[in-house]
Symmetry: C2
Subunit: 493 residues, 2 copies
């Protein structure tokens, strides 16, 4: 992070006074002790107390806070529930932290149109709870769903174990209300398909708080499937499990979820929740199938045959909802389970072509030996989305740095085999400096021109996502044209 | 359209010479007779011969043509197969028409990763044909799929009868190569999920040629379903058919397609293809279900029961692939069938909340009487996407203008009931002037800032989509901030 802007620090008292006038005294925090709880998000290795915290209660208050910040030239970091694993809500010493937690109402449930309109601070799981009695749910299900907010889900384009079949957040949104840094309010989309003009709904989803602040979300609701059943089997190698995954997809079957865990993850989870996982296996595959009962019965038989023909052993298929939940219990608790066997762990998030999984696992094992740090792996296997958990002890000098270097090597490896730096956790501060391994200057400049179209003064969540930010005027200057023909740099054919 | 830019006309000979140097003589057309075939697209009511046509054969040639145009300050209109129904590829008298038809190769078929990499001039249907023998297909299926290009599908975010279950183009894309107006080449996405940074893939999809030129498309391939069966039934009113549609969706069933036709469309189609449609019905409902055989059998029974309980009569379910195609034949031929009963027709494209269908149909009947023009309706009923076909005779003075006014009234009606101006045909020139009925100044300005982030000189397809374009520098000036606190216009609480 660059040193704090001294002008911003000097303007802080006037800025806070203006905020208090707009939001009321309970809506603004400047007391150093009261600011402390906001110093980090889910990426706890990074900490920074913000200049101030604002807690607006309405779209109008969000607009007022942003307008005041814009007028004052003060940076703004939006924050939902603060569960980001990539530091997306890490505060700035010279910036306002804009907490959306008080915008936590479900505004409307519209079952005939199968959607719900909610404020950004509503938790992911609260949406499904609100419509469960009517037989509906909201599909994306990040592991943090009991805590993470839907606004944060939009910012990070969150996924979950069911996104293989039901898509990421971007596939389950119908509309947004966003406030620009100027305080202007945009409404995008609604209860219908494509609306003409540019797809700003898609653009906003996954934009990590750099383009605008989400103040209302219209989500698509799905009817709960008639049946859902989980099955699991152990494999003697991750290659064999990976081949089974490829064969299932290749057969045209899209499971509701398809997850793999490696031996260290299996052991940690089994020790914690006693789900009956096979301790002798090198890889565990969990497949969930959902839909009408007749379809699920058919698919269970087909997937079972594929698993058996690829050497899967100890196949178990849930015969009740309780058994289905038991099969999932270890996977869902994998992160805290690993937390029990190591003082600290660092959760990475990269995506690779499914076929390269065995090679990536082999090289990860080599890196583990090289850095002297253990690693446990859980994957969204159907998507090729890896979550290696690097085990370390922050109290041992150098281990945090080693874990970070190990993690960077894993992400570079993902890119090298044709994958990408992220799956569903965003770039944030965590992967910012790795972006040039994936994106060239033309890409980054064009992406920043989009950023400039929304926030020309670069006040919204600076320091996240982009390794460097150029002044917007400077980027525009690349478009000067001379009116001369032909250009001396023209390619020849 | 504004009068042609005299400077552009004066620069034309030098401009064409530079293009010829880059693309070779066969790649550039300036002869007035040879330009004539390019004067319009699928919206034939509008015609304009372009300044010149360029026909590049590679990404490098597209980049060269755009760079030359940018250096010369010459506007550019990209064109795929020219099947746009909203005039998206209508030329400009002072602009280059950039035809992508020679970029027509399938570059790679990657079945393990279930995707294909194709050039933009490849037709939609050619992709499915190329992978049919292996049991795969590309899902979006616009009625023009035999002719329309995948590049045009990206530009318009095209749909089709199966987009209810399988999504629009934007849901079936994995990656793009695009060339910016500067000639810079961007590669977006690839064979994986979310890639970090902004969702430019979504932004480009449906951007109607105003942001960049697509030179390569990576599409998702789907495994052909084990079974597909179509069913149809007649209803005594569109209200009853609409209620059946709502009940099917409400039961959690997502058919592969769900289409309605009104009495005039039923009669025109039946006279043309003899599909056995019920001539006494006021509305015809066609529902297709696909998936594993056991699932489809189950769904056929459930949909059949819903149809019967809503007064559907003459239920017919396909027992063979030939019978399925017969049921679809009338719907697929609805446009040419209407072309047989009227010298001209004007195809509209709006979207409404499904529940408002009966009201919209009633008011459309009133408008039909008021304008003295017949209208035949086909709908993607599951999506609420209407395609009213307004029948007129261009040789009768005033009928074209009346048809256009009638069409505008229909689209205003769509917006009034909570819908939108477009479904899948784009805005183009056709709906450009109606945009302010849906979008306020804040929306249009923000959308244009996005346009400016890609094309600061407004050279790419100007005159489409936006009712007015402001100079980009002028829009940027809205972001001036004074550093004064608090702003006098701040809202008070």
């Amino acid at each position: 992070m660059p040193p704090p802007d001294q002008a911003a620090l000097a303007a802080a008292p006037r800025f806070a006074a203006a905020l208090r006038e707009a939001l009321g005294p309970a809506g603004v925090i400047t007391d150093p002790v009261a600011l402390r709880p906001y110093e980090s998000d889910g990426l706890t290795a990074y900490r920074q107390v913000p200049l101030a915290v604002a807690l607006p209660r309405s779209t109008a208050e969000v607009a007022a806070a942003l307008r005041i910040a814009h007028e004052s030239g003060i940076k703004v970091v939006p924050r939902g529930s603060g569960t980001s694993l990539s530091g997306g809500a890490l505060p700035l010493a010279d910036g306002l932290l804009l907490g959306l937690g008080k915008l936590n109402r479900i505004l409307e449930i519209d079952l005939p149109n199968r959607c719900a309109v909610v404020q950004p601070g509503v938790t992911n799981l609260a949406i499904s709870h609100a419509v469960a009695a009517d037989g509906y749910y909201y599909a994306p299900d990040p592991s943090s769903q009991i805590a993470c907010s839907i606004g944060g889900n939009v910012a990070e384009n969150s996924g979950g174990v069911h996104c293989l079949k039901y898509g990421l957040t971007t596939n389950n949104l119908l509309g947004l209300e966003i406030v620009l840094i100027t305080g202007e309010v945009l409404r995008i989309g609604g209860r219908h398909l494509d609306a003409g003009l540019y797809d700003i709904l898609g653009l906003m989803t996954g934009s990590e708080g750099l383009l605008g602040v989400v103040t209302e979300v219209t989500v698509r609701l799905l009817k709960k499937p008639e049946t859902a059943r989980a099955m699991m089997a152990g494999f003697a190698s991750s290659e064999a499990a990976g081949a089974a995954v490829a064969a299932i997809i290749g057969a045209g079957i899209i499971p509701a979820g398809m997850e793999m865990m490696d031996r260290p993850a299996i052991h940690a989870a089994e020790d914690f929740v006693h789900a009956g996982y096979p301790l002798e296996a090198e890889a565990l595959l969990i497949v969930e199938l959902d839909g009408p009962k007749v379809e699920v019965d058919d698919l269970i038989a087909r997937v079972g045959a594929i698993v058996a023909s690829h050497g899967g052993s100890g196949l178990r298929v849930s015969e009740s909802e309780a058994e289905r939940l038991t099969i999932w219990a270890g996977r869902k608790a994998a992160f805290p389970a690993v937390g029990r066997i190591s003082p600290d762990y660092y959760c990475m998030d990269g995506t690779i072509p499914r076929g390269r999984l065995p090679e990536v696992l082999r090289r990860m094992t080599q890196l583990s030996a090289q850095y002297g740090l253990r690693v446990a792996n859980v994957f969204h296997a159907g998507d090729g989305n890896l979550h290696p958990l690097i085990l370390y002890d922050a109290n041992k000098p150098g281990e945090l740095e080693a874990a970070e270097a190990f993690g960077s090597d894993i992400l570079r490896l993902c890119v090298e085999v044709g994958g990408v730096l992220t799956g569903e956790h965003g770039v944030g501060v965590e992967k910012r400096d790795l972006m040039p391994t994936m994106f060239g200057e033309v890409d980054l400049n064009q992406q920043q021109r989009v950023k400039c179209a929304f926030d020309a003064d670069l006040l919204l969540n600076p320091g996240k996502v982009f390794p460097t930010l150029r002044r917007c005027a400077e980027l525009g200057a690349m478009h000067v044209r001379g009116g001369q023909l032909p250009h001396p740099d023209l390619p020849r054919f």
